[in-house]
Amino acid sequence: MAERTLMTGNEAVALAAYHAGVVFASAYPGTPSTEILESFSRFDGVYAEWAPNEKVALEAAIGACLGGVRALAAMKHVGLNVAADPWFTAPYIGVSRGLVVISADDPEMHSSQNEQDNRYYAKAAKVPMLEPADSQESYDLTREAFLISERFDTPVLLRMTTRVCHSRSLVEAREPEKPEPIPYEKNAAKRVMIPGHARLRHPVMVERLAEMEEFSNDFTYQRAERGVGDSVVVTSGVAYQYVKEAYSGVSILKLAMTNPLPRELISGFCEQFKDIYVVEELEPFLEEGIAALGLWPRGKQSVPRVGELNVDNVRAAFPELAKEHSALSHITRPDGLPARPPILCAGCPHRGIMYALARQKAIIAGDIGCYTLSVLPPLEAHDCQVCMGASITMGHGLEKALELAAGESEEEGASSHRVVSVLGDSTFFHSGVTGLMEMAYNRGRYTVVILDNRTTAMTGFQDHPGTGVTLQKDPTTSVDIEMLVRSLGIENVRVVDPWDIEECRRVLSEEMNRDAPSVVISTRSCVLRDKTSWRAAYAVEQEACNDCGLCMGLACPALVKRGEEITILTDACVGCGMCAQVCRRDAIKQG
């Protein structure tokens, strides 16, 4: 037997891409997709990069593919929103060597702001889509995706989900391919999408869709499993695993290629059964397609449309299909256990500036990163947050609206200077820079705080255009944030050390009261990333402490209050000294 190795879905995709001869891969990190590029970058002879954002990653991959090599772009589900612009036109121009886009969706929102179902992106763009159900399929379908891409002259979407990306299962690899690069040839009519050209390309895509549906009907990885009884369950992705376990023995049509939907295959198989069920995560994507065939399956009326599926909720959806109708008996979890919310680490540089900001009269437009955790008590330093980069632009609208509203009512309304936008360095490079141009160009008068911790911390310390190091750990140029901001025409730029709370407070107060746009750059490396900044731990002198609890407002995991007494956990303290700064009795001293 060939060797089988335990690996995550993400590792399997990376290995398959390498075995498919992919030499160019680009991504912006995002849970649960991040490890695809990290794994891929370790193979010999490949080029892998962190792009500033997903749109850039996909466009670079399109370019690489036109340059004649197999290319890959990976992103989390919301990343495809950012990349949606190239996504919809890339199928018009087609490919040279294969191009595969990976969307890692996050049902249950383990680490995301929404749980959109990206299968609709494949349908909307007329792009073929494959949905793996475990690591072996992640490997196999990635290999197939490149063949499909080249056969039909189109990008392919590989749609993963958290439980496929981050679950480990056994993978048997196949013989690697070594596709020859295709020499570059100019073909402007196919690759320059002026209206006259695009009008000729769209009908080609429609025709191609019919050919791809034929292919989908016969695709080897579509599995019809005949079981017992007169019911059939149509399913795809990881939901297949839950169906197999919850409805052990039932007939299953498990689809690996879900766009174009293999309508003939579905009709042919399902018509042999009395009852048709559809079990899929999130939206009724398959169900709608099957209902359109006049087959009227049972689906989302019982299967949850929100959150992840599992064996328990799949069994509960259609108990008539389950051999054992009720869930397993189990021990009941005791009530009232303390929650364990994620928190900013001890010494986290975000803490000082967010603490200072929370004490200003500010409406805080926040963004996506570790610092978003400051929305939780006791800091409560976020008012709104939507997506990557939106802090600056939402802040712009907010400030204008408050000004307009105050002007109309002619009352002492909320001053425009109360709006502060907050975002991290990686998020700023991702999609904050254009927002800052909006602020400068359209004469915003609010304050933007850039939390520069020199890494992409939330997803596990990836490098970015400001760190001076590439994904493959080679030295490179580094964006000077202050010079960039000044070059946009913003004159008021201040740099603060977020461990100095008083400095943060003073600078924020000055900039927020200025009748001009301003940017505060809060610079200090992530404490987990740079342990050279750690200093001796602090301790509370109990005689001097009156247990006022001011220091507890920092929400530092090294500070603990037992009964009335406050102490510092020496092992957890990294010596940032922020607690000593907020203490009014000088009761906290460095040991």
């Binding site: 023995g249 299953i252 198989f269 599992n310 009941t332 979890r333 900013l344 955790l373 596990g460 209050k561």
Partner: protein
């Protein structure tokens, strides 16, 4: 046509077995699950594991699931589906008892990591956590895994102690386990982890 290839979906003859590992970010729960999973693979089982990445590094709860058998379907363990709960922290042990079958067993470290609401003095850590665990699952094995690991040479090998305690109910022999530890653990922590595993195994 791809359909009707004659695949028969029949219930597995041998049921899938499941183990849940729990802890707090930074305790090495995922590493322990990986050790367990690779040991099971080396013995010839089909294995699936599942975990959630993301915010664990920021002090959140971590759960890893390991399932094995002749052919494993779901990577997730249903409530009541686990034969053992291996936990590096007392509160996380209580939080995850739901995964345990009524005749399952608990192997836990007598380790307390206070979550923020407890640090803040807003709520109490269940001081009787150990008694409650024993009440819910009589016969639970609760040890000072960090202390045992420290004596073995590395406090961070606490989870390896717990896997050692679990190990006698699994079919892998001592040699197989040590080979997998050899393969997975970095050189500088290798001796401590082997020792930690064997200390745990004595208690299992």
């Amino acid at each position: 046509m791809a359909a009707d290839r004659g695949n028969i979906n029949l219930p597995d003859e041998k049921a899938t077995r499941s183990i849940v590992l729990a802890g707090v970010g930074g305790q090495g729960t995922v590493t322990a699950a990986n050790l367990l999973a690779n040991a099971l693979v080396s013995h010839g089982y089909d294995v699936k594991t599942s975990e959630v990445h993301g915010m664990a590094q920021r002090g959140g709860s971590v759960i890893s699931m390991v399932r094995f058998g002749s052919a494993v379907a779901s990577p997730l363990v249903p409530a009541g589906g686990a034969e053992a709960l291996v936990s590096a922290e007392l509160l996380e042990t209580l939080r995850n008892v739901e995964f345990l079958s009524p005749d399952g067993r608990i192997i836990a470290s007598r380790t307390r990591v206070d979550p923020l609401p407890v640090l803040q003095g807003a709520v109490q850590y269940p001081s009787d956590a150990e008694e409650r665990i024993l009440e819910l699952v009589p016969g639970s094995v609760i040890v000072d895994a960090v202390e045992i690991a420290t004596k073995a040479g590395d406090a961070r090998a606490a989870n390896t102690v717990l896997v050692g305690i679990l190990s006698p109910v699994l079919p892998m022999g001592e040699k197989e386990w040590l080979e997998v530890i050899d393969k997975l653990v970095p050189a500088k922590a290798l001796d401590a982890n082997k020792k930690a595993f064997l200390e745990g195994r004595k208690l299992g």
